[in-house]
């Protein structure tokens, strides 16, 4: 226990996760507060506002059992910090960075503020190392690069966790030897089973020694979730930028995080904007998502994959909407495809990787990759149009060309998108599969491919 500072006794007001305390002096904004409940149990809180001898404090572990007279508070004079050390790999922590696996505290003098500092845009290195995930729908159509932040937009009941676990298991860099890597996993408000699923998955693939978990599960106080992703990213940044490791950060589920933020904002009586979320939701999310990337001259990287469930599958809901504005693309899962038995049900058109263009092609993946991906997109979007038409006039009435497109669409979903949960395809395999599908269509339809590429791969004549 930290023994610095005065301990104050008694509160003015308790309201939801917040309390107001009077008569304090020398208290800083965003300072951490150690609270002792009347029954002697310790809690942690943070100052949200100070002024004129008064401080507003949010309690991370909930205000249940606190009373206005018997509660004591001690202001620690620092922001919220977590210890960081390589020893933390393989361990499990709670949402505030305290051990949860029954093992002792981390022995290190290195501590970092969980809020981090903004990366200087000038110091960033533009990400362009292709990561092969072994999933065609991602590698071929929405390639990920090291240092990217690419979320999975999903819905309740869709297999986002299985997919994230598969990516974590299979992801590797092309053409480079083994490099130190780590996975940092942050769970916000998810069920114990979900956390267990990930733990099992990591154990099965033998990487759990490289995984650090920060778990704030569904039955933990919701306010704690505000700290969980920040604690995880602080540790990830330490590994990446100070230890030179490549870190994949999995954050699940960001919707729960945003709900916790809304809860606090409402408790403070702030003016709500869309759907009751605070007006600063964008800035707040950015302070999490922007903590990904590479730095000039640094060896490591932070790649972020946030999972969020879209309430009633609505992509225009503020959480996926604002996320999409910050992240570098999105992988959207589609319920209809899932129900037709397609795994992974990656929706072809709304999914996008913004950093793809610089991570693929000559010298990175294969020369024809950019054009093949673009052509597949164009054809698949045409398929969507033709399907809409077919649902009106009937498939029989379609022109012969349109029927070919229908066939292409079916094969695209059944053969290229669909794959097994343990199936790990190389980018070469994915590309060849793409060509196989394109050959269903007449040559003249493939206007996004160059003449040379068509000659080599469509006609089968090497140039």
């Amino acid at each position: 226990m930290n023994q610095t500072g005065l301990e104050y006794c008694g509160l003015r007001k308790l309201d939801g996760p917040l309390f107001v305390i009077d008569g304090v002096c020398d208290v800083g904004y965003a300072e951490i507060v150690e609270i002792t409940a009347p029954d002697g149990s310790p809690r942690i809180g943070q100052v949200l506002e100070v002024g004129r001898g008064m401080a507003v404090v949010q309690v991370f572990s909930g205000t249940t059992g606190l009373s206005t007279s018997g509660t004591r508070a001690r202001f620690l004079g620092t922001g919220l910090e977590i210890p960081v050390s390589k020893e933390m790999l393989g361990r499990v922590f709670d949402g505030l960075g305290r051990p949860k696996d029954g093992l002792p505290e981390v022995l290190t003098s290195e501590r970092r503020d969980v809020n981090g500092l903004p990366l200087n845009p000038y110091a960033r290195e533009y990400p362009r190392d292709f990561i092969q995930t072994g999933i065609s729908a991602i590698d071929l159509m929405n390639s990920i690069v090291r240092g990217q932040k690419l979320p999975i937009f999903s819905g309740n009941g869709l297999p986002h966790n299985r997919m994230a676990a598969q990516i974590a298991r299979q992801a590797r860099l092309l053409g480079k030897g083994d490099q130190p890597f780590a996975i940092v996993f942050a769970a916000m408000g998810v069920k114990y089973d979900v956390a267990r699923f990930f733990i099992d998955s990591f154990e099965r693939s033998g990487v759990s020694g490289n995984v650090t978990m920060f778990l704030s599960l569904a039955d933990d106080p919701s306010v704690e979730r505000l700290v969980t992703p920040r604690a995880a990213l602080t540790f990830a940044e330490y590994l990446a930028f100070e230890q030179g490791m490549h870190v994949l950060v999995l954050l699940t589920d960001m919707t729960n995080y945003c709900e916790a933020l809304r809860e606090i904002a409402t408790a403070r009586g702030e003016i709500p904007s869309r759907k009751g979320y605070p007006g600063y939701l964008y800035s707040d999310l950015a302070s999490i998502y922007e903590r990904a990337g590479r730095v000039a001259g640094g060896a490591g990287s932070v790649t972020q994959m946030a999972i969020l469930t879209m309430p009633s599958d609505d992509i225009s809901h503020p959480v996926p909407d604002l996320t999409g504005y910050i992240t570098e693309g999105q992988i959207v899962l589609n319920r209809e495809m899932f129900q037709r038995g397609i795994y992974p049900p990656v929706a072809g058109l709304p999914s996008l990787s913004r950093l793809m263009k610089d991570g693929i092609g000559k010298g990175l993946t294969r020369d024809d990759h950019p054009h093949v991906a673009s052509q597949l997109f164009a054809c698949y979007s045409k398929v969507k149009e033709i399907r809409a038409l077919a649902s009106v006039i009937g498939e029989e009435e379609l022109s012969p060309l349109d029927k070919l497109y229908m066939k292409f669409g079916e094969e695209f979903e059944r053969r290229l998108v669909t794959q097994g949960e343990e199936e790990n395809r190389s980018i070469e395999q994915s590309l060849d599969l793409g060509w196989e599908l394109l050959k269903i269509l007449p040559r003249a339809e493939l206007y996004r491919l160059t003449e040379e590429e068509l000659k080599e791969r469509y006609d089968g004549v090497a140039v």
Binding site: D26, R52, L117, P118, A123, S283, E290, L352, A378, S399
Partner: protein
């Protein structure tokens, strides 16, 4: 004047301090022991409300607040070009030298390098009387741009002393002016300081007659912007706002580009930073960076600095305008700026209007966009500031306040379309929802280059509109049930979309399209449509037209024929005519 107050309350980026009775509105203050930079935005008795441009974590009530006696200002002088600043004009490379990868708090850096020397050539002699804004010297800052230093707009008088040609640092006095009414002699360095929130004066507006060419066909041909005009690019996420802004920043026919990354992604700014120095400006043959100033206040940087970043950017733009240059400002994204306003307004507990935005949002937007325009500068030149603002409507819904208010103050609307973006049709500018009110102003400019321009443009536009109507019917009955004439419309419109409207900004040939190439391409497409129509009327089918040998060459002419190869277009035109003759037989 040395005013020092005391912090009494802290709420996020908003700090209240007492003992500030003598301080002025919008004055810059240094807050707390870390001396964080802030600005006074409200005064009540001796209580000042301050918005702080840096993270306020750890500040305590009782810490000092020092007033600086000046409003938030921008330093203007040699050294701006090629720089990258944060929202309050702190150079990011200097910050990196100081504190590494991260931006720490309380950083104090000078915006313009004080030590570096610049080649200075005086244009006036001792004894001459200078007016405000008159150009008195030249500095070859980069090989692409020569600075023409104007007398600060608030100064005038007889030249008492002017430095001879030579190399000077920004700290050196190069000009002394004796006011006409006999006041004290004023000394000037090459740097002048101007309040960010105040428009720089000019002699008045002049009509806009020149287009600002962008090299994007859909913009230049269909929805052109005039030099000095304003445009908005609204679009949901993933529709290509930033990519369009990048393309405009690269290829716009402006002399100087000010690129404001306001609340956007860090990696995107890095992309610009890495790309621009390698890109060659087709007009000057020099690196793009030599004509670019960048302001990067990414989404995770303090929100108050985001609010001020667009003013910092446009003040820099006006400074170059005052030298007689045409300047283009790209602001990406104004929605993030509006959100910064909303956040600060919420912390100030102001009464909200639409969706929590403050009631003064439209006023602020209007003030910003009105700083664009083509003017007669104080020096007597014609020069312009064009503004292109990206708008990020939540959920891609254009009825939200920022898009709605913005569309009242701009005259060029490039609506990005989700369906086009999903089909990877870039630039995803919708030809149905976009508009440009500058068309009448700049038609004359195009007429000189191609007398058929308005007719060709209209023909293609009509074709696209027609196709939109027919597509609705085709969706119900199937395209094959339409009469051949209408099937042909669908076919040729598809050709126009793929061959003309779609443009690949990564293809070295296609990324920039000169006005000559645009008119040549239009001519071929219009002629193709005419001939095909004649064929179908004479009893041919669309399937036959589709098989015409030159079809693929027309489809790929954007990639296969470079700018400045008119002969090849002529050849293609002749080939097409011959093919149709052949088919007619």
């Amino acid at each position: 004047m040395n005013i020092t107050g005391k912090i009494v309350r802290i709420n996020g980026p908003i700090v209240e301090a007492e003992g500030m009775r003598a301080a002025g509105m919008l004055e810059v203050v240094e807050v707390g022991d870390l001396r964080l930079i802030g600005e006074i935005i409200r005064l009540k008795d001796d209580l000042a409300t301050i918005q702080v441009y840096e993270n306020t974590g750890g500040l305590k009530p009782g810490e000092p607040v020092a007033a600086t006696g000046r409003p938030l200002s921008v330093a203007l002088g040699p050294g701006l070009l090629g720089s990258i600043y944060d929202g309050i004009q702190r150079p990011l490379p200097a910050i990196m030298k100081h504190s590494g990868f991260y931006i720490r708090r309380g950083e104090k850096t000078v915006p313009l390098d004080a030590a570096r020397k610049w080649p200075f050539t005086p244009l006036v002699k001792v004894g001459e009387v200078l007016k405000p804004g008159q150009v008195y010297a030249e500095v070859q800052e980069t090989l692409a741009i020569k600075l023409r230093l104007p007398v600060p707009p608030d100064a005038e008088g007889r030249v008492a002393e002017i430095a001879p040609a030579g190399e000077y640092a920004n700290s050196a006095v190069v000009l002394k002016l004796e006011p006409a009414n006999g006041g004290a002699v004023r000394e000037f360095t090459m740097v002048q300081v101007w309040p960010a929130r105040k428009q720089r004066p000019s002699l008045g507006r002049v009509p806009m007659t020149q287009p600002m060419l962008t090299g994007l066909r859909i913009v230049d041909t269909f929805f052109p912007i005039a030099a000095g005009g304003t445009a908005a690019i609204p679009g949901g996420f993933g529709t290509g706002k930033t990519m369009t802004q990048h393309a405009l920043a690269k290829w716009s026919s402006a002399d100087v580009i000010v690129y404001i990354g306001c609340g956007e992604r860090g990696n995107e700014m890095t992309d610009v930073l890495k790309q621009f120095p390698e890109l060659i400006d087709p007009r000057t043959g020099r690196s793009m960076m030599e004509r670019t100033v960048m302001i990067a206040n990414t989404s995770n940087m303090p929100v108050a600095a985001r609010e001020v970043s667009i003013y910092t950017g446009i003040t820099i733009a006006e400074y170059f305008r005052d030298m007689g240059y045409n300047v283009a400002v790209m602001a990406d994204s104004t929605s993030r700026w509006a959100e910064a306003l909303r956040e600060l307004s919420g912390r100030l507990e102001e009464m909200p209007a639409d969706e929590g935005f403050p009631a003064y949002l439209p006023t602020r937007l209007a003030e910003f966009y009105e700083r664009a325009g083509k003017v007669r500068t104080l020096n007597g030149d014609e020069a312009s500031v064009s503004v292109v603002g990206a708008v990020s409507p939540p959920g891609g819904d254009f009825s939200e306040p920022v898009t709605q208010h913005t569309s009242r103050f701009i005259r060029c609307f490039w609506a990005l379309d989700r369906d086009l973006a999903n089909a990877r049709h870039y630039p995803a500018i919708s030809w149905l929802d976009s508009y440009s009110e500058y068309l009448p102003d700049i038609t004359a400019w195009w007429l000189v280059r191609n007398p058929d321009w308005p007719a060709h443009r209209l023909a293609l536009m009509e074709l696209l509109q027609q196709e939109n109507k027919l597509r609705r019917i085709a969706r119900l009955v199937g395209p094959d049930a339409l009469p051949p004439g209408q099937q042909l419309v669908l076919f040729t419109a598809e050709l126009v979309k793929n061959a003309f409207l779609q443009q690949n900004s990564f293809d070295t040939v296609d990324m920039y399209c000169s006005p000559e190439k645009q008119t040549a391409m239009m001519r071929i497409l219009v002629r193709f449509q005419e001939r095909a129509q004649a064929c179908v009327k004479a009893g041919g089918t669309v399937a036959e037209v589709r098989k015409i040998p030159c079809y693929e060459a027309v489809l790929r002419m954007k990639n296969n024929i470079a700018n400045g190869e008119p002969a090849k277009f002529e050849e293609l035109y002749k080939r097409m005519e011959a093919d149709f003759e052949e088919m007619g037989k």
